[in-house]
């Protein structure tokens, strides 16, 4: 039975993600790391967040704390690196730019993965996937895998398959795989391998006798909606091949921006938290301005470590802003609303702010009584320009401080050079 030409070229989704993104970014500039176990540590060198396959083979788990691994690192030949966000951010941008050449329909899903809308015959799609993989590897320097399928959920699954089965050589076009093979795979994989199905949901599905992905594919979407919700129903439909999750042009941080870190050393005073709020207020302002957004609501929070069950304190405060704003002074002030709730002497391990209810700036001019005095004077843009020109930490607002970094800033003792963003840290090539 031959389908009409249009049917044969229904749009499909390519899901592309970088293998062990952080570790691969490091290897791109330090080939001596190739073939060695490499882990990248979370903020403050806390625990392993990226593991190269060699590190996984040593039995190092996701989230294993560094202090437990450190004593054996030498014997293992394990290389541990601090998170080099400057490098990863630049490599990510390069990967996305390159992928954007394959399709104008690009959704950057996270720092290391993207969905692309693609069209073509199975052979063309497979060729396109291989071309993407080769181009990112060669032009940017990091390895990716590609999954191409009729829906996002299947594309994610195809990608995972491409990663785990050498026969695909990193590129899996779902429809090109013989149906019996696909069914065997779905019958083998647990439902929690599906994008969007996790934890509690898995247990509830298991309770209904749904254990494998194949079980979920066979489920009645309407019954699933009644039992769970429309989100789970969409997942079932997507697994059955009906696209339900649309491509989104700009997903990251469109509804909220969060600035939060855990501290290298706990903060025990309201004055310390005040300084943290000032820094995050300015970072939030800069990020909002960069995206042409203003926020309506700011939430400030702090918390003690969950490793330390006594003296817990999780203060948080939600502040409606007087007007939609990206003004660093107003955001910082709003963050200070948290201070009365800080208990002096308690060891706070993290704090942050979240701005929500974001909207494009400049759409509605505020009524004059609510005009924002600081925005008028371009304080935000001024701070931003100085920072861009002279670096982060060169200028600060009030308690954001400028000198030498307050002692709660992130600990990155094993930081590799910021090869692509700092002139003094360029990769060295040997002429010998």
């Amino acid at each position: 039975m031959s389908k009409p030409a249009l049917m044969r070229h229904m749009p499909q989704i390519a899901h592309v993600d970088v293998n062990c993104f952080y570790a691969s970014s490091e290897r791109a500039f330090d080939p001596s790391l190739e073939g060695r176990p490499v882990i990248v540590l979370s903020n403050n060198d806390g625990c392993a967040v990226t593991r190269s396959p060699e590190a996984k083979a040593l039995g190092i788990g996701m989230g294993d704390p560094w202090f437990k691994l450190a004593p054996r690192a030498k014997e293992w030949g394990l290389v541990a690196l601090s998170s080099n966000y400057e490098l990863y951010g630049d490599i990510s941008a390069r990967v996305m730019e390159l992928l954007g050449r394959y399709s104008a329909w690009l959704e950057v899903y996270s720092i290391d993965e993207a969905f692309l809308g693609v069209k073509g015959s199975p052979a063309e799609l497979l060729a396109m996937g291989r071309s993407m993989k080769a181009a990112v590897r060669r032009n940017v320097g990091v390895p990716v895998c590609v999954g191409i399928a009729p829906t996002k959920t299947l594309a994610k699954l195809a990608n995972k398959w491409a990663k785990n089965n050498k026969a695909f050589d990193g590129v899996c076009h779902w429809d090109s795989v013989p149906a019996p093979e696909r069914e065997a795979l779905l019958g083998r994989l647990s439902v929690e391998e599906v994008w969007g199905i996790a934890g509690r949901l898995t247990r509830r599905l298991n309770g209904m006798g749904i254990f494998t992905i194949a079980d979920l594919v066979r489920a009645d979407p309407v019954a699933i909606r009644d039992k769970f919700n429309v989100v789970v129903m969409r997942t079932v439909l997507e697994l059955q091949g009906t696209p339900c999750i649309p491509m989104e042009e700009e997903r990251i941080g469109r509804d909220q921006l969060i600035f939060s870190r855990s501290f290298a050393k706990p903060i025990t005073t309201a004055a310390g938290i005040r300084q943290v709020m000032s820094v995050y207020g300015q970072q939030a302002s800069a990020r909002l301005a960069k995206h042409g957004l203003q926020a309506k609501v700011l939430t400030a929070f702090a918390g003690t470590s969950h490793f330390n069950p006594k003296d817990t304190s999780y203060p948080s405060v939600c502040v409606p802003l007087p007007m939609p704003t990206a003004d660093p002074v107003i955001l910082t002030k709003a963050g200070h609303a948290l201070l009365p709730r800080i208990v002096e002497g308690v060891r706070y391990a993290r704090a942050g702010i979240m701005v929500t209810d974001l909207r494009p700036s400049g759409n509605q001019a505020p009524l004059s009584p609510f005009e924002n005095p600081h925005e008028e004077r371009h304080i935000g843009t001024l701070l931003e320009d100085v920072t861009r020109r002279y670096g982060r930490g060169s200028i600060g607002l009030g308690h954001g401080g400028i000198r030498g970094g307050p002692d709660w800033t992130m600990k990155r003792d094993m930081l590799s050079p910021r090869y692509t963003t700092h002139w003094d840290e360029l990769p060295l090539v040997k002429a010998a």
Partner: protein, 143 residues
């Protein structure tokens, strides 16, 4: 307080970096005859980097390429997208290190040549035995 640049008064609070200004500071009364011809300053990025996505800047350490005008401490602009060809100056991966050499592709094999008689050449049977990291397109030589 404003700064007088050309015919306009620009508030010093506005980012001067982002404003295209006339290259010639002018007395307030007489407009510069040059200002209609000003199209922006030379942008080195635009001229030296053809493909920003694939281009990295690296720094040279060592003396083995001095014959090619590449000295210790010079910066190289390296494009990873370019096909390595005979005669190109390439960054190759040798023993886990990024190394700069002149690539010679001959019927008898591939040579990574140092451009300084004090350093040895390296012979490999074929290009596929090598990992070429990128092709240098410019040297920013310190004079």
């Amino acid at each position: 307080m404003g700064v007088i640049i050309g015919p306009r008064v620009i508030d010093a609070g506005v980012s001067l970096l982002s404003v295209l200004v006339s290259p010639v500071p002018v007395a307030a009364g007489f407009p510069s005859p040059a200002q209609d011809y000003f199209d922006g300053r030379i942008d080195l990025n635009a001229h030296l980097i053809k493909d920003v996505t694939s281009t990295y800047v690296v720094r040279v350490s060592g003396e083995s390429m001095t014959g090619a005008g590449i000295s210790d401490g010079d910066e190289l602009i390296v494009n990873r997208a370019l096909e390595p060809h005979d005669g190109a100056v390439v960054v190759a991966v040798l023993d886990g290190e990024l190394t700069i050499k002149r690539l010679r592709i001959t019927p008898r094999g591939v040579i990574l040549r140092a451009e300084n008689p004090a350093y040895p050449d390296i012979n490999v049977p074929a290009l596929s035995d090598l990992t070429i990291w990128g092709v240098a397109t410019r040297c920013l030589h310190h004079v």
